[in-house]
């Protein structure tokens, strides 16, 4: 049986997802604000005691790596020791890891999202894209699949089965079973959560970036997903690369003929580290 879902159905069901962490919007809004202070970041974070506890714990684990040292006891202390930009990144990742956990996300989905986010951050250096935008867009790029798995698990599983035996793209298969694909659903959710337009576009167009290449983040997330699969970052048997956009590669200024071993090494090591820390 196939479905014919539309935008209003996606929005209506999304109300039953856990609340999207407001701190993500707060941080993205203040990125360009030179007057944003340490106090503001602390205030955003301390609105949520669960997130605060996780951040302090992750900051400790990340900062100490198992070595004996002074324990970080609060967010201010974490900022003073490891710096505001790193804490901001931890806050974003932890907030979304919490959101993903409450949403019942699978380990594979989360690891893939982390891999794409790290790859996007590293490629973003070529394209001069904000590391925080790359992180959020990478972590959320497949959020439409989470919606599908949560509200229509049977049809979602049928899509997964078909992907493994078909030559058709995942987008075509999803459109067959759902009448809509995970990119469109993800874009609707990102709009509903009032995320910046560039992140909405990156989620919506990550499989077909050509119409939106004026927005660098779109090409970046497309290439990041392809490269994370090419590097086998999640080591899943079904990992595969089937297409890549020439325009997206050009938009981020990446030349595949140069020696990329340092870039690839960084991406692999950072992803392995992040998957351990942000479980």
């Amino acid at each position: 049986m196939t479905l014919q879902l539309n935008e209003s159905e996606v929005r209506a069901r999304a109300i039953n997802l856990p609340a999207f962490p407001r701190v993500v919007n707060d941080i993205l809004e203040t990125l360009e604000d030179d007057n944003a202070t340490l106090g503001a970041l602390v205030r955003f974070v301390e609105c949520d005691p669960v997130i605060t506890g996780r951040i302090v714990s992750v900051a400790n684990s990340a900062a100490m790596g198992g070595h004996t040292a002074v324990e970080l006891k609060n967010v201010k202390m974490a900022i003073s020791l490891i710096g505001m930009s790193r804490v901001r990144e931890i806050v974003l990742a932890v907030s979304m890891a919490e959101f993903a956990r409450k949403s019942g996300i699978s380990a594979y989905y989360w690891e893939h999202s982390v891999a794409v986010a790290i790859t996007a951050q590293e490629l973003g250096r070529f394209a001069h894209v904000s590391a925080d935008y790359a992180l959020v867009a990478g972590l959320l790029h497949d959020i439409g699949q989470l919606w599908m798995a949560r509200f229509y698990p049977l049809e979602f599983q049928m899509v997964r089965n078909a992907v493994n035996v078909s030559n058709r793209s995942i987008v075509e298969i999803e459109q067959h079973y759902f009448g809509i694909d995970h990119c469109v659903i993800g874009g609707i959710l990102a709009e509903q959560w009032a995320l910046p337009a560039s992140i909405v576009a990156a989620i919506r167009h990550h499989h077909e970036p050509t119409p939106m290449l004026a927005e660098k983040l779109v090409g970046l997330i497309h290439v990041a997903e392809v490269l994370s699969n090419a590097l086998d970052l999640t080591s899943r048997d079904e990992n595969q690369v089937s297409n890549i956009s020439e325009g997206a590669c050009a938009a981020i200024g990446l030349d595949w003929e140069q020696d990329l071993s340092v870039l690839f090494g960084r991406i692999e090591a950072r992803t392995e580290f992040a998957c351990k820390v942000f479980r």
Partner: protein, 111 residues
């Protein structure tokens, strides 16, 4: 006697141990202002590991002697190449861009 080959490895900080040798200079920002650095070839100490962790290093490039025999090295490279071919199983490698991406990954795995 043949000189032992050197391999560069990028390791997450959790896998880095005392005595490993840096394969590239290490530069870490401190509060976005000053930097903490160690030179290429530096032998890492327990104190260095702590210094890196506190500055939130995520990974380190280290150099290791390649102790594999020629046969072992060839077998590892062949297995890596087979995995890359599997990942690109549905890609059209006659497309120049796809061929370049495939070549870049293959070159990296062949190291």
């Amino acid at each position: 006697m043949k000189d032992m080959a050197i391999r560069l490895r990028y390791l997450p900080l959790s896998d880095v141990t005392e005595g490993m040798v840096l394969g590239a200079p290490l530069v870490l920002p401190e509060h976005g202002v000053s930097t903490f650095g160690l030179p290429l070839g530096h032998v890492l100490t327990e104190t260095n590991l702590h210094q890196m962790a506190v500055r939130h290093a995520e990974f380190v490039c280290i150099q290791q002697e390649d102790t594999r025999s020629d046969d072992e090295r060839a077998a590892e490279i062949a297995a890596s190449e087979a995995r890359v071919r599997h990942i690109f199983r549905s890609a059209d490698l006659s497309q120049p861009l796809m061929a370049r991406l495939y070549g870049a990954v293959l070159a990296y795995r062949g190291q």
